[in-house]
Symmetry: C2
Subunit: 150 residues, 2 copies
Amino acid sequence: MHASEMAEDFPVIGVEDDAWDAVTQLAERRLPGLVVIDTDGRPLSILPSSQVVRILVPTYVQDDPSLAGVLSESMADRVADKLRGKKVRALIPDDGDVPELAVVNDDDTIVEVAAVMARLSCPLAAVLRRGELLGVITASRLLQLALTSR
Amino acid sequence: MHASEMAEDFPVIGVEDDAWDAVTQLAERRLPGLVVIDTDGRPLSILPSSQVVRILVPTYVQDDPSLAGVLSESMADRVADKLRGKKVRALIPDDGDVPELAVVNDDDTIVEVAAVMARLSCPLAAVLRRGELLGVITASRLLQLALTSR
């Protein structure tokens, strides 16, 4: 079985799209993350929910977590303010906290996909055919395929 | 709102349980991960699918990824062999590739939970009340709650 047959649809967002749209998609659809694509449709990065929650934390709490307990929680407006006019690009941390997106070719095997995913500790792999995004393979999908393949 | 109200059920597995059971749960239920608890029910760690896929990769391929393409793919039997007699403990890598499990108290606020999650880059937080696991808050659940809280 090749990666092209393992690939599934996965929510993507453009790097120049509105940051607020990305956050509401993650929230409303309860997604662990989005694949971020560039303006040519090539996968660039992952935007994991675990990183996006940073926007809920005011800077002075990041500096001194003991202050978190004293905050009021009228959060939605504060988040909207914070994201106004921002692009998805601004949500991607540049400090190495985002796992490198695993990228595999459409003719890669289960073992090849697993090897890339494990090396990068990345929960999903983007499947490309000649630079075009065919879909995504999540780690649990890969396990499922492996356990049912003979 | 406090963490106890945000918590949801999440699949857990005991550190002394059978490794094969953990892998089949991840595969069949398409889970991104399991919370690993010790024999007293206290949360110990996360077992992410992205780490478990390592078991699909033979050691000689980990050493030389170019060999991955030449493997046959009768995988399920090979995985079963590899896991026979092993405990969940053996699946948890000790090389720092598993994110530290975020642990929060039942009376923590959204901002406190977000601060812990963001600091550890952990996609979920275990909610404890006097050492007992009440449930788990995923990052996307936290975003959902934040955007709907006033």
